[in-house]
């Protein structure tokens, strides 16, 4: 008999690390949530949450929020993409619109909500200051606007990619056959964009029902599942109720996510079929062009206003009430009591970024290039990190790691969360940061690796480099753009996330987003804005540093797939 094929020791180590990480940091906490929710004691909770009208309302509201945000965000993203890809406009204007769309992706999602309160709330600068109306931004409409503005960039980027990948020849063919422009667009172009739109809608649905920061800041009486879940933990200290709510939330979130993935895969099929030849005819008809441009510019101006408000608010005592200039907010965040959170968050995000960046590429490599049992599970398990709402990880971590895990009197995992946790709870926070940001790197890595001819790596191995050396010297440099985007995403995500981490902060380890929430809650908007401005500043600075040091495309990538 032959020996089993010997796997490279370094690679085996990487594989074991990846599996252990997914098992301990992702699967185990989720299993604990499920386990708790299905304890006999949890039975009455299910009855209460699923049958009582108050709780049915919560579930209904959550779904409605998902639908409105999905619709509004998809429309917004589509508008942005259509103007970029299909409407004749000056290049500088398109550039400005493009940049404005990217701003929300580097700021905490609920930053927009805080600005909206200051602008349109009861004593809002615009609602009250300009019009003398006591505005009400709390509730469904406010949340819909805020979430749509915060989440639409991903739709925009997907849709603009799809629109640019469409083969203009198809539209030309239809036009040749006598189809009018409108008809061509509806009959030829839209059907090809439909999977992309469907997937965008579903993605936003999941994001909306998973979000915690916005429901907490601007939800008001419109209580959704994630907010109710937060109350169950931080107000009622009832982990059992939280676990049951988590299970109720996980079902639509994960279900819709899986359906979304189905549509996303179909959308990508569309995008790679035709090699686009020639260029599309841009819309020049003023009846279409002007309304679209005007709408887009108006919304862009609105977003700009929201962010300018943050900057202004950071330099004022209390925007709208006492508009005097001050640097106190900044000194609070930079050198005062608030600096601890800033430093901790940045430090922990930095660690997580490095680990998540490499982990994403490693798992991508294992999934694309290696043959092993459970490969699909490793991929799926990693993706759960983003498919499952962050709040559920928060609960899962509390359930799994608030007490040391002991097996036969031997401490397998020490206490990671709450008071007296290992490293003051930093390890749990880092873990959750990595869990939430690795999936994006994994997908980017998989896409990049599939573009690279495997014989490049085989050539390296046949020249004597083992798999690990090959990964470092050949694979990683070739997928550098994916690696870079994984790092950028990981850092931005870690710095701006709140949903999972808000459950995990300890008195010794504070997180900026949680401080922003606390300052807002206490009405100290100046401090909150200073935090937000500094947070965005740090994220932008680190992105610039990463791009400088990891470097942009070298030109080699284009030739990676040796022609056949």
């Amino acid at each position: 008999m032959l020996k089993r094929r010997a796997i490279d020791p370094t690679l085996a180590f990487g594989l074991i690390f990846a599996i252990l990480f997914v098992a301990i940091a992702i699967v185990y906490p989720l299993v604990r949530v499920l386990g708790t929710a299905f304890e006999p004691a949890a039975g009455p909770y299910f009855e209460r949450f699923l049958l009582r009208p108050t709780f049915q309302t919560i579930i209904g509201r959550t779904v409605v929020l998902g639908l409105t945000v999905g619709l509004a965000g998809t429309l917004l993203g589509f508008l942005w993409a259509f103007v970029q890809a299909r409407v004749a406009a000056p290049a500088w204007l398109k550039r400005v619109l493009h940049l404005i769309a990217l701003v929300p992706s580097v700021s905490p999602p609920f930053a927009v909500a805080i600005s909206m309160i200051v602008l349109f709330g009861r004593r809002g600068m615009i609602s009250y200051g300009l019009f003398g109306i006591e505005g009400n931004v709390y509730g469904l409409p406010g949340m819909t606007v805020v979430m749509a503005l915060s989440f639409f960039p991903v739709v925009y980027l997907t849709m603009v990619g799809l629109m640019r990948a469409l083969d203009p020849a198809m539209e030309e063919a239809s036009a040749n056959l006598g189809g009018s422009k409108v008809r061509t667009f509806l009959r030829v172009t839209m059907p090809m964009l439909l999977p992309g739109l469907a997937s965008s809608f579903l993605l936003l649905f999941v994001e909306a029902i998973a979000d915690l920061g916005n429901p907490l800041t601007i939800g008001g009486d419109y209580v959704v599942l994630s907010a109710r879940l937060f109350i169950a933990i931080s107000g009622e200290y009832d982990l059992l109720a939280a676990a049951v709510l988590a299970v109720i939330l996980i079902v639509p979130a994960l279900g819709v996510y899986l359906v979304q993935k189905y549509f996303a895969d179909r959308a990508s099929v569309v995008s790679v079929t035709g090699k686009p030849a020639g260029s599309v005819a841009l819309v020049t008809d003023w009846r279409v062009r002007w309304p679209l441009l005007a709408l887009n510019v108006f919304i862009a101006a609105f977003i700009a206003l929201v962010y300018v408000t943050m900057i202004a608010g950071a330099f004022t005592r209390l925007l709208g009430i006492d508009n005097s200039f001050t640097l106190n907010n900044f000194s609070y965040v930079l050198s005062g009591l608030g600096s601890e959170a800033m430093l901790d968050t940045t430090r922990l995000s930095a660690y997580s970024t490095v680990i998540a960046g490499f982990l994403g590429m490693l798992i991508a490599f294992l999934v694309v290039r290696m043959k092993f049992f459970g490969k699909g599970l490793l991929d799926f398990g990693t993706m759960l990190g983003i498919a499952v709402p962050g709040t559920i990880f928060g609960i899962g971590y509390l359930l799994a790691f608030n007490d040391p895990t002991r097996v036969a009197g031997f401490t397998l995992i020490p206490k990671l969360t709450g008071g007296q946790a290992l490293l003051a709870g930093e390890l749990a926070i880092i873990m959750v940061f990595i869990v939430r940001s690795t999936p994006a790197g994994l997908r980017a890595g998989v896409a990049a690796l599939q573009q690279i001819d495997p014989s490049l790596e085989e050539a390296s191995v046949s020249l004597g480099a083992n798999r690990a050396v090959t990964f470092g010297r050949i694979t990683l440099p070739l997928i550098r753009p994916a690696f870079l985007s994984g790092l950028v995403y990981a850092f931005a995500r870690s710095m701006t996330t709140i949903s999972a981490v808000i459950f995990l902060t300890t008195p010794e380890t504070k997180i900026m987003t949680q401080q922003i929430y606390a300052e807002t809650d206490a009405g100290r908007f100046g401090n909150a804005f200073a935090y937000i401005v500094i947070l965005i500043g740090i994220v932008l600075l680190v992105i610039a540093l990463l791009q400088t040091f990891i470097g942009l495309a070298t030109g080699a990538e284009r030739r990676v797939k040796s022609e056949n």
Partner: protein, 360 residues
């Protein structure tokens, strides 16, 4: 000088699981001995297991059973980076982010040689493959032929015990293919590296090889020198696959020192070279190459009808209908204008000494 290796395959089998869960034998009990410095080619139709065999030698696949022995050591389960072999790929597989110099230096750097040693080796290798002065270029700045030279240099620079090639020339145009193959042959002889070369192009195999291994459906059909493979194919598959052949059923009248005597459609032919397995008194097949056939308007031979006649300058190529058989004839003796025409009756025969008898 390189330490040329002796490579032995013993009953090597490789099974793959198809997506439907069936097992397919990509390579079926292949046995071979490759001498030091020998240039051996695996030749066969697409899907016959050539690449799989080569990849098992390289270590990218592991055999389901059997032994692969390099210089006395069973390496069947040794990972590819520990095998002291180097592979040249169809797609060149040059590292696009490295210069030509760094591509060739790659294997040497892995071996932690000194910078000076690396420099000397890279420069001498590049001059050997005719790429002096191109050190600083990126692969994307070279032509296809130049890229494959870099790949060749990169593989030879590490002085492997065995050099492996998987259809390295099939991405190049016909003219470059011919010039690069003679260069591969020259360098291989000069360095004396044991080489295993995979191709489906029989002209390439003929031109390059010390020995050709003809494969079919995972099995080795014949392993022999190019002229033996051509003149004395081991079976009908090899006869058909190597060059063109007319394969015709005969009755064996007798087998002697001077060859076999056979009867074909009532006519007796004597002194045909024959396979050792051919016995007197049974039926058999003869293989006759198109250029060993003779055709004329009248005279001796069997009657047939001309299905097509193609004038090719140095010869006329005929297709003859003879019963249910279609015969191919290359006639080099014809004078222009004197050829047979389509539809005409003709008579054909062949030179017995240039035919070959195979067991049925």
């Amino acid at each position: 000088m390189t330490k040329a290796g002796t490579l032995i395959l013993e009953n090597v089998t490789k099974e793959f699981k198809t997506p439907e869960g069936r097992m397919v034998k990509a390579v079926d009990a292949a046995s071979l001995t490759i001498q030091p410095g020998e240039f051996l080619t695996l030749l066969g139709p697409s899907g016959c297991g050539k690449t799989t065999t080569l990849r098992m030698i390289a270590g990218f696949e592991f055999p389901s059973s059997g032994r692969i022995v390099l210089d006395g050591r069973d390496i069947a389960m040794v990972p590819p980076d520990k095998r002291e072999m180097a592979m040249v790929f169809q797609s060149y597989a040059l590292f696009p982010h490295l210069t030509v110099y760094e591509n060739v230096a790659y294997g040497l750097r892995i071996r932690r040689q000194s910078n000076e040693a690396i420099r000397q080796k890279v420069l001498s290798t590049l001059s050997m493959v005719g790429l002096e002065g191109k050190e600083r270029r990126r692969p994307s700045e070279l032509s296809g032929g130049q890229q494959q030279r870099v790949a060749l240099g990169r593989a030879m620079a590490i002085e492997p015990r065995v050099l492996l090639f998987d259809e390295p020339l099939s991405n190049l145009d016909a003219k470059l293919r011919v010039s690069l193959r003679s260069e591969i042959r020259r360098l291989q002889k000069q360095l004396g590296i044991t080489s295993v070369y995979v191709t489906h192009d029989q002209a390439e195999a003929m031109a390059l090889s010390d020995r050709i291994v003809v494969m079919n459906a995972g099995r080795i059909e014949q392993a022999d020198t190019p002229d033996a493979i051509y003149a004395r194919p081991a079976n009908r598959f090899v006869a058909d696959f190597i060059g063109r052949a007319n394969v015709l059923p005969v009755e064996v009248l007798g087998v002697g020192a001077g060859g076999a005597d056979v009867r074909l459609a009532g006519e007796t032919h004597t002194g045909l070279p024959c396979d050792p397995a051919v016995k007197a008194g049974g039926s058999a097949h003869i293989v006759v190459r198109p250029q060993a056939m003779q055709v004329g308007k009248g005279g001796a031979g069997l009657p047939a009808r001309v299905r097509s006649a193609t004038y090719l300058g140095n010869m006329v190529e005929y297709e003859l209908s003879w019963g249910e058989h279609t015969l191919i004839v290359e006639d080099y003796s014809v004078i222009p204008g004197g050829a047979l025409r389509e539809g005409e009756e003709a008579r054909w025969t062949f030179a017995p000494s240039r035919a070959y008898v195979l067991p049925a």
